[in-house]
């Protein structure tokens, strides 16, 4: 535990680099990313498409495409898992370390009943009998508030709504009582009403289950309701790492502040135009000169265009990569 000063982080990523071999040379997707997730902590990862936010965890899970290469270190519960053979990874993935994705339909097998898909996890990882596994599957559906769980076990994925499928995926990820659940845009494909219900399920799990959680999203509004700490990524790098309350009250990086302003809300009195970021995110693949955000940044100076700002502590527990961070 933290108090004893011997805390082993649930996940520790150090100097992670991810590059893709493409025609025309290697392209960087993740550049020198370091982060830790403490036991039971919920970490939010926020960034636009192409920021590398998903790639960090695909690399950690050993799920990069064949032309992708990762270097650095990823320690899960104290053990190095980067570069582990698939057989060794398979003992961890899906049981101790689980991940859910944006599109629950393509994460489920279309021709198998929900019950079979859930039970199979326990039969494979925990050596359960099918009968016991099926019983546990019913209980887990109840836990993620799927109505009529016994009937759902006998249904196929196409018979369920998007929100229900995502509940099934969350349930499946919990079956082996993981130490860490990584949720990658779990609600981005869902209606706002269903999104808020799924967030409630995740919120409850945070308090009931003894696990850490990583919530990845392009929407700071979604992450804000759940995360203890938020990491903001831009062009493959961490640009801000701070407690969630700090990010929401006073973002230090201009990019974070703008992202926060962009969340469509019902308070904004300026109805005529919707706040947004100008331009578009540069993919992580571009050549770096200076700060990657400078072309879109209202505070950018000559210095920003010439010199890349390092990630440095501005407060205790707040790190920012910016030459001109917003004042305290």
């Amino acid at each position: 535990m933290m108090q004893h000063g011997i805390s082993v982080p649930t996940l520790g990523v150090e100097n992670l680099q991810v590059t893709y071999a493409v025609a025309g040379g290697p392209v960087s997707a993740v550049r020198d990313v370091s982060l830790t997730v403490a036991p039971r902590e919920c970490l939010g990862i926020v960034g636009e498409s192409g920021s590398g936010k998903t790639q960090v965890f695909m690399a950690a899970m050993g799920l990069l495409a064949v032309n992708g290469r990762a270097s650095g270190s990823v320690r899960f519960d104290g053990r190095e898992i980067l570069g582990l053979a698939p057989e060794a990874l398979n003992r961890i993935r899906g049981s101790e370390l689980t991940m859910i994705f944006q599109d629950p339909m393509s994460s489920l097998t279309p021709h198998l009943k929900i019950g079979v898909q859930l039970a199979e996890v326990l039969v494979t990882h925990r050596g359960f009998s099918w009968r016991d596994a099926m019983h546990a599957a019913g209980l887990i559906l109840e836990r993620v508030r799927v109505p009529e769980p016994q009937r759902r076990l006998q249904q196929y994925p196409y018979e369920l709504s998007g929100g229900m499928r995502q509940r099934v995926m969350i349930g499946m990820s919990l079956l082996c009582e993981p130490k860490l659940l990584i949720a990658d845009e779990p609600t981005s494909a869902l209606d706002v009403t269903v999104q808020s219900q799924i967030m409630d399920v995740l919120r409850e799990l945070r308090f009931e289950a003894a696990m850490a959680m990583i919530l990845i999203s392009h929407d700071l509004g979604v992450v804000a309701g759940l995360a203890d700490r938020i990491i903001v990524m831009y062009a493959g790098r961490v640009v801000e790492d701070a407690p969630a309350s700090e990010v929401l009250q006073r973002a230090h990086h201009p990019y974070t502040a703008l992202l926060l302003e962009c969340v469509p809300n019902l308070r904004d009195a300026r109805l005529e135009r919707m706040p947004c970021l100008p331009g578009q995110a540069l993919g992580a693949g571009m050549q770096e000169l200076g700060c990657a955000f400078a072309p879109r940044c209202p505070r950018a100076t000559e210095l920003c265009r010439l010199e890349r700002p390092p990630l440095r502590a501005v407060h205790q527990s707040v790190q920012v990569a910016c030459h001109h961070p917003l004042s305290p």
Binding site: R145, D200, H218, G221, V263, L266, L271, R273, C276, A281
Partner: protein, 337 residues
């Protein structure tokens, strides 16, 4: 209204025994933006497609500048289509991957203005690309070379090539990063200003609809449950379903960080819309509504006026309007962080 561009009366669509759309009526004026809000399965996209006769309607009329689009002959329909354009949720999926952007934008001109000289066509394409915030050079590239936001700009450029009088936008920003959504919404507002285009803007997120709409329709299971001028709707949402939609909008400044909520109990609407035809005997929303009473099971609520610019289909709206409601206050008076 006499000056309306589009007048929809009693539009219904059935898919087999399932009623996807039931008795929908509304009008849309020239240069006006009408927001259409509801969850998956509420019939929003079905409505958009039925209006343009992309799918057959079971009943109703769609009067468009003196022509009923649902009963006119196909030659007439084709002539009207140049003024009726549509953009979709998946901007990349709605572009032909084998056509350059220039070819995709040339197509509407080739069909509707075949006499146009190649050079003039090229000029119109480049002008429109710049108008939507892309470079002229984009014409020579393929859709996959662009980001999601840029592809949506291409879709908008293509739809605007013929200066349509109505642009139907079906969830145009739902698949985009929140940081980019505003760019597209603002672009649509600018184009409307410039060309006087009427817009039907479909979305499940009221916070987005709020920026662009002059009036808003809220749909549930194929029926309109609330219709109001924007300010009237957001100041005093009358239908419990509308309130639930408002409540569901995530807002970082009123995030319940660290406090577990009792799932669903705080929501005006729990659960999800039922799948399959709604029971026609009462209010379609009653099974998810925490205010439902006996009458809601027996009688279908009709749209009735709340004020001059506001109508709701709910038996209980009067009682809800006078009782203090935690849902409503949460929306109106957000707690500062």
């Amino acid at each position: 209204m006499n000056d309306s561009l589009l007048e929809v009366r009693d539009l219904s669509v059935n898919f087999g025994a399932f009623s996807a759309l039931t008795g929908v009526s509304f009008s849309l004026g020239a240069g006006e933006t009408l927001g259409l809000v509801g969850e998956s399965g509420s019939g929003k996209s079905t409505l958009a497609r039925a209006l343009l006769r992309l799918i057959p309607a079971a009943r109703g009329t769609v009067m468009w500048r003196g022509v009923d689009l649902l009963s006119c002959d196909s030659a007439t329909l084709r002539r009207q289509r140049r003024d009726l354009q549509m953009i979709f949720q998946d901007p990349l999926g709605s572009l032909n991957p084998r056509m350059t952007v220039g070819e995709a934008l040339a197509e509407p001109l080739e069909i509707f203005e075949p006499g146009l000289a190649a050079r003039d066509r090229q000029a119109r394409i480049e002008e429109m690309l710049e108008r939507v915030g892309l470079v002229r050079d984009a014409a020579r590239r393929y859709p996959h070379e662009f980001s999601g936001g840029q592809c949506q700009r291409i879709g908008i450029a293509r739809a605007m090539m013929l200066r349509p009088k109505l642009l139907v936008c079906d969830e145009p920003v739902s698949s985009l990063d929140v940081s980019i959504q505003g760019q597209i919404v603002n672009l649509l507002m600018d184009l409307q200003q410039e060309f006087g285009t009427a817009i039907l803007f479909i979305s499940h997120n009221l916070a987005v609809v709020r920026h662009i709409s002059h009036r808003v329709l809220v749909m549930y299971l194929g029926r309109i449950v609330e219709e109001a001028a924007r300010d009237a709707l957001f100041a005093a949402p009358a239908h419990p379903y509308t309130r639930a939609l408002l409540e569901a909008v995530p807002d970082p400044t009123r995030a319940p960080a660290g406090i577990p909520r009792v799932a669903d109990d705080n929501l005006a609407a729990a659960g999800e819309p039922p799948v399959g035809s709604a029971d026609p005997s009462g209010c379609v929303f009653r099974n998810r509504c925490r205010y439902a009473e006996g009458i809601c099971e027996r009688e279908i609520p009709r749209l009735e006026p709340v004020s001059a610019q506001h109508a709701v289909a709910c038996h209980r709206w009067r009682a809800l309007a006078t009782s203090p409601d935690p849902t409503q206050s949460a929306v109106r008076e957000p707690r500062p962080a």
